[in-house]
Structures are given as structure tokens and as C-alpha cells.
Symmetry: C2
Subunit: 317 residues, 2 copies
């Protein structure tokens, strides 16, 4: 087969919503897609193993995501959560009935001995997801957030306290012992294009890169490496990325993000609003693509995905 | 206090629906009520610990039971079950969203080290149940059903195959090692009245009596012991009691049931339709009360409960 006749092998390193939406666009654009997903947000609640980023990616690729809200399943109901509250459980972490089913099934299969990779493959297959969705590791990694109020579990920080606390530091508990899940390193090494999603650099991307071998695989891959900035016009499209960049001493801009990826990324995709930063990013040794990076629904995702694929193909051959 | 000024201490030995409804009637009648509940129907499905009889008793006493259907929670929805089916789980065991919450919470607390008694006390308290609801044991007992199709797990027999198989024998797996839960033996020994509910003698009552010390406590208690026949006019009010009596070689009648309880029961409550059996039951050494034993809603339950309390008080003092 010639290059014209096969799909690009594209691997996305992703957190939740931003990664999920760009992955969706790449899927719509026909990429041969692998999504390597952060699991450091995972949490056990009510005895159930919850993997929010894996679920966001899966639901989005399956067309089940609640796009308006940005998390969970569309048309969701909350009868079980209501009943759990009545039974005396803390219900600060909102679990819809359909989402709960995912957690029940995942937990049962994990307890029966399956790996998180196995279960993720089963769930994505059951929901008709074409892409490979891989947890970055089958081992347990937990982001802990140091704040003026003390060290918080990730979901306590993110959902329980609505990421209002200043982030003074981050600990990825367990990451030193975490081995990459089957297929993860190959997906980075053997891809035509590796995409660092417009996800939070500290909460999503770093706990992916920190798993043994992933950063090295990204540094060493022959794939063209493209990052999309999650910061547009000095603000995060979603979530606390801007605050965290600030409190950790980084510039809150696409340039600040680009600096974090020096040596790991060949092309930085930045928003039209940030065109004035293009030269400074180029000075870091990266190519720059300036485009509209704010994805809305499916058309916007596919458009950005095609830009990313073009950026990824620019230097090939 | 004189006898007139305190509630009767009443302990019910119960399975599911029949026991739950009579317990409800006794609660409405103002009894100081303890319900000792069969757990040999319990099953682990989807990694969740399900205790159908405990839940039926609890939901009924809490006013949450789906009375029309005879199991589960009124106004129930099935979003999670639907999603679980989509994820490839077997869904022959119908779990509503609210019911699922009970199983999730129970399972989480059991895994965290609580006993089934502890969890049951927490759940009944949370739902405003006044009566003490006690699993007969915190240990695991599982009814296995020998049929022409082989040995079946209880829920497979009962729900999965709709109790259509002939029952050739029953095994209460684990019962020899099962210890009575805290309070169970005292509840039988110290009661004023012990009621054997109109539950299935083989599927519900026997795996209660078979737990170490329970049969002996019932045989030796100074309480007045009253059983209500689950067979009316040669038919079971609900479930497979009639078929099981037949295939195990017993007479399908209130008399056949009474014979199973000789030495354990002082008064047999039989239905008006079975008045002609009263003398034969008396010949077994029991008193007989003939009344309408078919409970409908709350008024019918309370009426039967008052008959039972009268029967239980008849010989006192």
C-alpha cells in the first residue's frame, strides 16, 4: 500500500474532555486511532472503580457523551444516586444511572481479575467504538493536589471543591511503580502522528508522560508530534489549567504550554487569538500552526483534527 | 409495666413477600417487632451482593415496596440495567436503579468490613424502618436446587428459570458453618410471640431454622409460637411452595405445612378455605385459628397481624 491508501496511524495522549473531543474529530477524519488516556484522576467511590477520563473518551467516541455539560452520558437520570443519598452515602460526586452501570461493570470485571486495559477494550467494543482506547497504565496512579488547605485527593479537589483551591504542587502517587499498559509504548513509537491533546498539562498530560517509558517513547519516536494548546487568549478553554499554570510559576499562554513540551513536540497548534505568540513558539524549536482551536460539535472537531493531521504530515517523507 | 401497657415483643421468621407483608401488618399493629430474615437466596451478580429477602422486608416496612409486582421498589426505573446490558452483562436478574443503589451501598460496606447485620441496621435506619431487621446469619448460606436439569443456584432456579423445574432436593450450602447473627437467638428466646411467616417452608423457613441454634431456640422458647400457612385451598399464595411440597412428597395443604412444624409451633393460622383441616391440624397437637389469611394492602395485613397477635396471646399468663 502507498501512503495515500492507508489511514494515518495516530496516537493521542489525552485527559478528559479536550482529548476526547479531538480524538472524536480524528476518528471522524478517518484516522487509525489509538487514544492513550490518563488514569490518575481515577477514584474508588461507593466501592466502585471510576475512571473519569477513560469514560469521557469512551462516551465521546461512542456518541453517548453529554456534550453540553462536558461529562457523563446524554439523557442521563439520577435515580440510583438519589437512593444512595437516602441510604446515607455522600453524593458530592454525581453519578448518573447509565454512568453507574459502567462503574459497576468495570469494578466487577476488575475484581474478577481483568486488567483495566481488558475492561476498557470490552467496554469500548460493546459501545461500538472503533478506536483503541488504552489506559496509560493498568497500575494505580493517583494525582494528589497540594493546596493551602492541605493535600487533597484529585476528585476532592476537582469535583468536591470545584477546583477553587490554589494548586501549590502535584504528586502522582504510584507513578514510579506504574508500568505502561500493553500497547501504549508501541502506540507512541509506531505511530505516524502523536498528538498531545489540548488537555491540562499538569493534571492530564504529565501523569501520562510520567509512566515508565512514555516520555522516552515520545522523545524518541519517529512520529511527527503535534500538541494543541489548551490555553487560548490566556485562558483555559475548560477547567483549572490557567490557575495551575499561574500558581506553579508558568506563563498562562500557548507559549507557556509550548515551553513545557520542548523536546517532546515538533508542532504546536495555537489558536488564532494567539497568532502573536507564533514566533516565540518557533524560537523554542517547534513548527507552529495557527488556526481556530476551539472545537464545538462534530464539524469543529473534525476540522481541527484535519489541521492536526496536516501538521503531522507536513514533514513526512 | 403491666402487660396492657407495653407492646408485644414479636419476632417473625421470614422469607420475602409473605414475611414482609405480615411483618408490615405487625408493625402497623404496634408490635415491638424483630424480623429474622432468610439469606440463603442471596446472590452475587455484577460484583454486587444482593439480599432479596432482606430487601423485600426492608422496602415493605419502609413503604417503598412495589406491592403490585411483589418485589423491588415502587416507581422503579431501569436505566442502569439497560446500560449494563449494552455493556455485555447478562441482565436476566432485573435490577432497578433504586434497588441497584441498595446493592452498591451494601456491597461497598461489606467490602469495607461491615457485617451484613451492620449494613442492614444502617439501611433500615436510613429508610425509617422502626422494626429490627436481622439477617439470620452474617455468614454465607446458599440454597442450591436439585432439579431434573441438574443442580441450580437459587436465583437461577427462581428468577432465571422462573421456578419451572421440579425440585427434587434442596441443599443449604454453608449452613452447617453458619452462626446466627447477633440478636437472632435472643429475639427468638425472649419474644412474647414468635411468628413463622407464611413463607415457603423449604426455600425460606428451613434455611432460617437450619442456622445453628435457631431451631433449638424456637423449640425451647417460652414465647407463644404461631405459624401462618402459606398454602390456601391447596395452592400457594405466591411462588413455588405447592410444587415443592409435591415433589418432595408432602401434602399440598395447610395440614401438610403444619406437619413440617410439629414441635416448633403452638398455633397454626389457616385460611377460611381450609377450615375443614382444622381438626387434623389440632390432632398434631397445635391450636388452630381459622381466618382470612390472604393479605392485600395495609388493612388486610394489619387485620391478619392482629389475629396472629391474638393467637399468640391466647395462652399467656
Amino acid at each position: 500500500m502507498t501512503a495515500e491508501h492507508r489511514s494515518d496511524r495516530v496516537t493521542v495522549l489525552a485527559g478528559g474532555v479536550g482529548g476526547a473531543r479531538l480524538a472524536h474529530g480524528l476518528d471522524l477524519a478517518g484516522a487509525d486511532l489509538t487514544v492513550v488516556v490518563n488514569v490518575a484522576d481515577d477514584v474508588e467511590l461507593h466501592g466502585l472503580w471510576i475512571s473519569p477520563d477513560l469514560d469521557t473518551v469512551t462516551y465521546t467516541l461512542a456518541g453517548l457523551a453529554d456534550e453540553e455539560r462536558g461529562w457523563g452520558v446524554v439523557g442521563e437520570t439520577y435515580a440510583a444516586l438519589d437512593a444512595m443519598g437516602r441510604l446515607g452515602e455522600d453524593t458530592w460526586f454525581t453519578l448518573g444511572d447509565r454512568d453507574l452501570a459502567t462503574h459497576v461493570v468495570r469494578t466487577a470485571r476488575l475484581r474478577a481479575g481483568a486488567s483495566l486495559s481488558d475492561v476498557t477494550a470490552q467496554l469500548t467494543a460493546a459501545l461500538g467504538v472503533r478506536a483503541r482506547v488504552l489506559p496509560v497504565t493498568d497500575d494505580r496512579v493517583a494525582t494528589l493536589v497540594d493546596t493551602p488547605a492541605g493535600r487533597l485527593g484529585f476528585q476532592e479537589y476537582f469535583v468536591g471543591r470545584r477546583h477553587a483551591d490554589d494548586v501549590l504542587g502535584l504528586v502522582y502517587d504510584g507513578i514510579d511503580a506504574a508500568r505502561p499498559a500493553p500497547g501504549v509504548l508501541d502506540a507512541v513509537t509506531d505511530a505516524d502522528v502523536v498528538v498531545v491533546a489540548p488537555s491540562n498539562p499538569f493534571l492530564s498530560v504529565e501523569p501520562v508522560l510520567g509512566v515508565a517509558g512514555v516520555r522516552e517513547a515520545l522523545a524518541g519516536t519517529t512520529a511527527r508530534r503535534v500538541a494543541v494548546s489548551p490555553i487560548v487568549g490566556g485562558r483555559a478553554i475548560k477547567g483549572p489549567a490557567a490557575q495551575i499554570l499561574t500558581t506553579l510559576g508558568h506563563e498562562v499562554s500557548a507559549l507557556g504550554v509550548a515551553r513545557l513540551y520542548v523536546g517532546l513536540v515538533d508542532v504546536m497548534v495555537i489558536d488564532d487569538h494567539d497568532a502573536h505568540l507564533a514566533d516565540a513558539v518557533r524560537a523554542l524549536g517547534m513548527d507552529v500552526v495557527v488556526t481556530d482551536t476551539v472545537m464545538g460539535g462534530a464539524p469543529g472537531r473534525e476540522r481541527l483534527a484535519r489541521e492536526v493531521l496536516r501538521a503531522g504530515g507536513a514533514s513526512r517523507g
